[in-house]
Subunit: 188 residues, 2 copies
């Protein structure tokens, strides 16, 4: 019946938001995002009702992408340390390949206008990870800790590791390995 919304435009806005948020922080102006996307100010609001809406959708998309990337090719039959190592390497590799996405996601995770519903959905996307973690910590010092606590620990170590890899890419491999050893020491 009428001009259809374009997926290209929608994803141009999402991609622009990723870049601008990574650059300007959560205070990023919608006008700046629209400009970066090559789209008019008003047009942004035909794709996203509010700025918070845009942020929530972007959060979910990035979270899903990060989760899927980190679970790629897990050797289901290998021992648990090998699986964990593969997961770790996937996660760190994704972060290195997409620093803007990883930075924007880190900021959005802290943002106050990500709704509880979005956070819940985000955690759901990470469900596969939880299973691997569960086995990893079975005999370690965290064997009796609540699972969300264990997940938070892993994220904390992961975030800190990524920060170092991005700040010092020359030794990224080394930092990634050190981070994994730290994680494994904590779990096993």
């Amino acid at each position: 019946m009428a001009r259809p919304k374009s997926d290209d435009r929608r994803s141009a806005i999402m991609a622009a938001a990723t870049r601008v948020i990574a650059r300007d922080g959560l205070g990023a102006a919608t006008a700046a995002i629209a400009k970066e996307a090559g789209v008019s100010n008003g047009s942004l609001f035909t794709y996203f009702e509010t700025k918070a809406d845009l942020f929530n959708q972007l959060y979910l998309e990035l979270k899903a992408e990060a989760a899927s990337a980190s679970m790629k090719g897990l050797p289901a039959k290998a021992d648990i340390r090998t699986q964990m190592a593969r997961f770790w390497s996937n996660s760190m590799g994704w972060a290195m390949a997409h620093p803007d996405k990883r930075h924007a996601l880190a900021l959005l995770t802290m943002s106050e206008d990500i709704t509880p519903a979005s956070k819940a959905a985000g955690h759901k996307a990470m469900a596969g990870v939880a299973a691997v973690l569960e086995r990893s910590r079975a005999k370690g010092p965290l064997r009796n800790a609540p699972m969300p606590f264990v997940i938070a620990m892993m994220n904390a170590v992961g975030d800190a590791t990524m920060d170092f890899m991005l700040a010092d890419p020359a030794h990224a491999k080394k930092h990634s390995k050190a981070g994994f050893e730290a994680l494994w020491g904590m779990l096993g």
Copy 2:
């Protein structure tokens, strides 16, 4: 001479800023801070040249307080695990006793208008910690990692632990212990 500046007023502003930042985030309005302090809008600017200036001074003050609290009564002669445990318990205790301060400090640490100079000074305040950490990690998986990396790991685990303690105070002790075991596993 002339009317002197009052330390009471200055610290009222600092305390108010702590509360308001904890409540409203880094977007906290200077007007809100002044009001909370029972001080006029303009007066705030006779004590702090700019908002960023206030934030930097508050960051340093909170950082110094946290550092000093966490080093209190370290048993210099005890074995390293005992020292580390005392440090950990001090840190977590301070955070539980002053949730606003700890939250504001966490936010300020991420803030973009904390200058590199302030961050450097902040790290300096934590110097005592570094020595304890150095001995703790001497034989563990992180024995060859750069010290800043080890510090970042510890902070990451500490932040995650505090989040859980504050969110679930009934089991604060348990969370604190679990966090310590995680840290110790990582180091030793």
